[in-house]
Amino acid sequence: MTFLFATLFYISLGVLIVGVALKIRQYWKTPAPLKIPTMPAPTTQAGVVFRMAREVILFESLFRSTKWTWMFGWMFHFGLLLAFVRHLRYVMSPDFILWPLINNWLVQFAGQYASLMILFGLLGLLARRIFVDRVRYISAPSDYLMLILLLVITVSGIMMSFVTPIDIVSLKAFMMDLITLDSGHELPVSVPLVIHLGLVALLALIFPFSKLLHAPGLFFSPSRNQVDNPRERRHISDWAKKLES
């Protein structure tokens, strides 16, 4: 089991990194021939950074479009961030400079209870797909499956945190082995742990081919990342420049 999961983790991490890198390259090279920032748009580059930050941190345009979706979506994502920070304890050495930040009661507590935010957010998003007619009409099987995958990961995590504790010291030893390319520490196998880790690996495997690419994709949205300065500076893409000369 230890060997199986070690292999699975290396493969899925490799697919995740290479896959997302290739996707980002594709997004990077895709031309944006038109100047189409959604108004009102910032007129400076700094303004665009600020707008993008609001988009990433607060989900501003989602807030303006659908309050319910924003509420559940933001709850899910923010909970995910807190839970992610808590999980760093498994991959960070206790003598690393950032360790005091992770080995902190408040951070760990927030990360533990953020799981309930994640759960509630996901259930809300699932209910939206099922009960809102216009959303159900455009929902594909992958939309449901992705939510269910995230739900099972969340519930298995909650189980380990609140109901059937696992040997986290052994788990960390296993994870540190993976990072230091070492071996010798067994994975402390239990049902929720195997489900949790297996599905996380699956999530990483399908990430570069799924709707989850909205994470890097957001930064490449022309309507969000463009400066409103069409009169000051002519917007022209490289291929159009060649046609002009």
Binding site: L13, G14, F84, M92, D95, T164, P165, V169, K172
Partner: protein, 140 residues
Amino acid sequence: MKTFLTHLLIAGLLLTGGAAIATDVADISLLKYPEPAGEKCVEPAEKMRREHMDLIQHQRDETMHNGVRGITAKHSLKGCIDCHVGYDDQDKAVSINAEGQFCQSCHNYAAVSIDCFSCHRTTPDGENPMRKSAMTNPHQ
């Protein structure tokens, strides 16, 4: 190719936020804490590793809320400390949550804070019956 993959892997780990600079403390087998004084624990080690916090807390509820005290107190924190506490050069008990001691070693390794000792003492109270040297005659 292998080093390339390794670099890629390490870069990826850094990117995903798992910014772990692994050094010797990262290795669990190098975690050091004093040997316990007793023969064996009140529960199998495997169970203790997973559930010690719940057992101790349950004992707390039994003792404090239900008033059940004495010989049935199998999972009392006092017992843990009596057996697992370490001693310094002057033969003085060291706080069990001090660096390198029994509780702190793993709790620091796994980033779990302990709130037992905001109320409870971290060393045995008086002469420790579990201490082997305490049982031998000092004049011999």
